[in-house]
């Protein structure tokens, strides 16, 4: 199946969880936040939150910025 991850189409295995996706991306120990279809997924729900085809996933972190 495909999902949209940070604006780009990404091939994922059926029913992949947020935890598995985050791990696959090497972000497991990073300070990030995840949204699926505009809903924030709390970190303790990553393992139980399975993605569906065409889900819109956003993964954000902190970058340099001022005003």
């Amino acid at each position: 199946m495909t999902v949209r991850l940070n604006g780009d189409v990404r091939e994922c295995r059926e029913g992949i969880t947020i935890a598995a996706l985050v791990e696959e991306l090497g972000l497991g120990n990073k300070r990030i936040a995840v949204e699926v279809n505009r809903d924030i997924i709390p970190r303790d729900e990553y393992a139980s939150c399975a993605l569906k085809a065409d889900d819109e996933v956003e993964i954000v972190h902190f970058v340099g910025g001022g005003c």
Binding site: K30, R31, F62, V63, G64, G66, C67
Partner: protein, 260 residues
Amino acid sequence: MPGPKDPFVLAGKEYHSRLIVGTGKYKDFAETRQAIEASGAEIVTVAVRRVNITDPNQENLLDYIDPKHYTILPNTAGCYNAADAVRTCRLAREAGVGTMVKLEVIGDDKTLFPDIPGTLEAAKTLVDEGFIVLPYIHDDPISCQKLEDMGCAAVMPLAAPIGSGLGIRNPYNIRIILEHSSVPVIVDAGVGTASDAAVALEMGCDAVLMNTAIAAAKDPILMADAMRQGVEAGRKAYLAGRMGKKLYATASSPLDGMIA
């Protein structure tokens, strides 16, 4: 460490430094860290952006700026409406650096002036959701009063447009804001050099927030140190109370005992 003698109290927490700095526009993260250290700042702003999926091993800002040592203040830079700003703040909170946010709802990309209705709307929602809200706003006493009344922890009137380096363009408005505010007044954006920062503190502003003035200096580390000193000098001059201004001279050497 003993508590500060003249603390800057923000949302119930005491800080030594009255300089808040951004982390954008530096050459690399090492320079960012050096500049922040030289500035003496204890609160640093950051932006919230998408992770680069194609290169997730990229270095992370927070590997250089330890959230255990600094108060990390996520901003909503780049948000042009209240909904986007609120969404950004919720994501920032989820990413785990606390509930204090620098709210910016931008009106247009040429001036980067705040959108007042959007800022008020977002501030209301965020305060209701338990955020500690520090709003970037015009040097407009009425907007500042409204933001204070709705529960913002400080007001952050601009000195001049973001990144312009023009210094405080309307000191009289800032004075009115200072007279009416019972929350900290933090001049945010538009400071160009150390004397601009000193002026803000001399007027009685509680703190000053800047990024470009340091990052775009020829020597950002030296400018960060200059800003630290400018802020400290301005604060001391405010506490000391300046002399009155007079039109004519007053001799400072005695007139008695003159030889002629």
